[in-house]
Amino acid sequence: MSHLLEKTKESRAFYSFLGLIILVIICSLTSSDFSKIENYITIFRQASVLLVLSAGLTAVLILGGIDLSVGATAALVGCTCALLLKAGVPTWAVITIGLCMGAVIGTLNGFLVSIIRLPAFVATYATNWIVKGLAIVIMNGQIIFNLPESFTFIGTGYLFGQMPVLIVIALVVVSICYVLYQKTTIGRDIFSCGSNLEAARYSGIRVKRAQFVAFIMSSMFAGLAGLLMTARLNAAEASMGDSYGLNTVAAVVIGGTSMLGGEGGIIGTMIGSIMLMLITNIMNLLGISSFAQPMIIGLVIIVMVFFDSISRDERKTVRRGVAIPMNVQKRKDDIG
């Protein structure tokens, strides 16, 4: 039992989860409309798009990098696919093309970061501009709407009666990422690169492969998110991804993934996404003034990350005790 408790306390997502629970309790107390099952489903549905958008980004952050191009990638894929659908290309083909486009953009990012060795911030910032520009060019200022029902189903349909397809897709994405990050060699490689790149290189880890995989995943899931966004809105426009902006990075970091790399996970990102959507939801239900809303979002983010960071110290001592005894030993010597 105590072992289990120790393990839970060690877990990265635990503290974010605790924060989420506290937030939910506060919300339920302040608004009676909040704790309705339909409202929870609404929040989950809204969080699904953000979650898919930040699912691959989580890998990039664990790697110690950053990907600023996810919003633009989502917009470009969404716009291209909407154009293709309008041209009469079947839905399954469009979805495949969309994911491939994501993979291509990811490969470009991976190439810039691991082969050309540009800093991830600059490389993906540049890609962001290129991709955004492409979206503007192909859309030529237009908005595409009224897409075929077979496509909008992935954004607005229901499975098994009451379960929104969007949430099912998000859960599948979480499962894939969980297995990939926590249970496979490539996942462990990404973590090692994030904790110490040089050490990883010397211990024979294929650093470049890890970087490519992380960036390709980031862009592919961004592409998927673009498809979901388009299907949900039943429309596509070039600036579609702007609403998400840095929210994606925020969702990952609130979930306990470190921006310095080597630490984090998809479960935390899931919690982070839900939390961000929950804040807007409760503010709408309470009828908080539009002028005060951005400030409140900022304050809640600070409180949540603060919560996570005070708990991090504790986690670190636990983890070091197990994983890197040399370090602890050295530290003790220093102090002594």
Partner: protein, 371 residues
Amino acid sequence: MKKVFSLLLAAMMLCSVLTGCSVGGMDSQEEQPDSTEQEDSAPVNVDEEAAKELQEMVASSIHPITGSGRACTTTVSPNGDYTIACIVKNNTNPACMGWMNGVEKACEDMGIESILMTPSTNDSVEEQIKIIEDMIQRGVDAIAIAPVDSEGITPGARKAYEAGIPVASMTTPCAEYEFAFVGPVFYDTGYAAAQAVAEQLEGKGKVIILEGPAGAQNAIDRLQGINDALSEYPDIEIVASQTGNFKRTEGMQVTENLIQKFTDVDAIIALNDEMACGSVQALKAANLNDVLVVGFDCNEDASNAIKSGDMWGSFNMDHFGIGYAAAVYLVMNLEYGIVPNDNRVIFPDATVNQVITSAEIDEYIENLSWF
């Protein structure tokens, strides 16, 4: 020592080049108004009557433009060979395309030249100022601009003013130094649309308002108009007023959130069409089919939604017509020196049908629309 000396020399050379350039620039700018004056004074006798007639029209707030939207025509036909630059906010918003196309069409109709520009960073006021500077250098005669920010554009507007180039603002005014503001009164747009909704509801019901971004002046004015109009109907209750930041995604999310609480809402007034369309998606997903949704702009997407019955109506902002009117008033100023009352051109005004509903939608899409 040698290095310092050579650096100093280089700096001096650079200085002389720079000052030389800017002096040259100033000269060409100062020449500009002179040359237009000469063109003005040359063909006096023929144009005097036309000028007088136009002067009187403008003085009594009648536009020398007939029709609205793509059906706009004008009686103004200048003798001078002018170039008008049109600068908009971005190249993704169809409204910006509307302004550009309006200016372009007006210039074509009047037989003059137009230059169409957008900042490469969407909604960058700094870049708009840079474009104004470039346009001054290029020697355009007048500028029609849709400023990203009324205050922020001031340095650019001042430069154009100092160079003697009239600036007409479209939909968003420049705080200072502008020749004329062309666009509707935002308060009135809100008032007209809300009044139409209230009449349709027969003065009774629950209304949700989707606001614009906090602090945007146009949105504040429009919201005030809506609130004032609805307050005249005691049985209409505004149950919620929340921001959707003019974005479709956010309009959808906010509506999804609000209909959890207000399941019996009768109408949703969104401060732009993007949010209204998002709202329609949210209502559809929740199977709320008899909620009256109204937006502003009357863009393509909204027009289709109105046609299919998903949306009740939209206020026609007629961006095409605004661009058209801006070009016409600029040319009238260049050619005849006419200045509109209070430096204000109210377009579209109440003489055109403003709230487009299912009754007018076919005619609108066919002949008038700005998209």
